[in-house]
């Protein structure tokens, strides 16, 4: 059972599309109280969509120097997106579950 969970939790940050301008959208899911990826490397101007796939609410926020945001909390099936406009590193967390952490590297 736990095995299945672990495998599931590695469900990718799915690369969704690449527009003409070169900006891409990525999806990071929240499932079994983990972000689907621990680290994600993207380019300046790319967008990351955070989707909750758990039966309970999650939050998404960052208090990193590079970018500060709080997407609030939302239930299963809902998502919110953030566009990253500066190069550097951003730590993303869930305020409700502090063990949920990931890093986005913006190149």
């Amino acid at each position: 059972m736990n095995h299945t969970k672990t495998i599931l939790s590695t469900v990718a940050a799915v690369f969704l599309f690449s527009g003409l301008a070169g900006a891409a959208e990525y999806e990071v899911t929240q499932k079994n109280k983990t972000f689907s990826v621990k680290e994600l490397t993207i380019k300046v101007g790319d967008t990351v969509k955070f989707t909750n796939e758990d039966d309970f609410f999650h939050n998404v926020f960052s208090l990193s120097d590079l970018k500060t945001f709080d997407l609030g909390s939302y239930p299963k099936g809902e998502f919110k997106s953030v566009t990253f406009d500066k190069a550097g590193e951003v730590e993303v967390e869930c305020a409700i579950h502090p063990s949920m952490l990931m890093t986005i590297n913006i190149k």
Binding site: T4, I7, A12, S18, K33, L63, A95, I96, P98, S99
Partner: protein, 355 residues
Amino acid sequence: MKYCGDRLVRGLLLASLVTLGACATAPQTGEEKTALKAGDPSLQHWLLPDTPPYPEDNKPTAERVALGKQLFFDPRLSRHGNMSCASCHSPMFGWSDGLPTARGHNGMLLGRASPTVINTAYNSIQMWDGRKKDLEDQAIGPMEASVEMNSDFDRMFAFLSTNKGYRDAFEKAYPDEGVSKETIAKAIASYERTIISNDSPFDRWVKGDEKAMSEQQVRGFKIFIDPAKGNCAICHSAPNFTDDGFHNLGLASSAGEDADPGRFAHKPIRILKGAFKTPTLRDVALTAPYFHDGSAETLMDVVEHYAIGGVVKENLSPNIRKLNLTRSDKEDLVAFMEALTTEHEPVALPVLPLE
């Protein structure tokens, strides 16, 4: 399956879509699929491992646990020599103190209830507001706090390193590490890792003993995990009946400007205003009164609070809403929570070294 992983992130669009489809068909972990039968495989994730995790540099040994136990019960670690860890975390009160909120240095009334020590060894974060990471990190906190044990560390180190019993015990437990805040904390944490509740009637029922819980208790468990009924397991989740998360429960005390900010003081994110850590429910029948402010006297009071969906709605956790529970549903829930008590061996108090 591995390739559902991040390696595909930069992969072809088509490949990504295929991956997404494949992953989406994986089984759900919703509690509605749990079979309410003693020993059923779907219940096994509720069992706790016998040995809780510990940090690499503090593997529990008999010497470490014995030293930690002495320190835990020794009031001489406090400034006035009258308060130990056990003053607020007493085995007589389920490793809490039976008070709505704690009493500290000089009997000062503190703002929050003393949380139980039971099963904190399994927590990934400590304290009502999560300001401590692990037990080693937590153990010194109350000694440092001027409103709690208010310890005089210079005097404490001098005492512990000249007292022959303690000097020998430290040397056996932590050879060459000396007497320091670190070794005191490590010893106390090692002792706390032995304060475990994982052999309750519920655990025995999960393992297959159908007589371990009454019919009413099994009904209570069903309500507990049913999202449409009690919805309790949404936060009090398996296996330690906590999600190690932070939620605002809409307690009456959360209204107003002077309300305890809880987790928000450490992480200034809006939903954390008035949010506190989900406590374990193991041995919960031993640890009344309840909530971080001690405002509920009984387990039934707790259930009634959730049934009405909280009192203060401002910044209320979205997991909390008015519940559709009958009187007998509520009684079943309380009966189930009473099935979470492990029958412990009586705690033998340590003899403390006098010189």
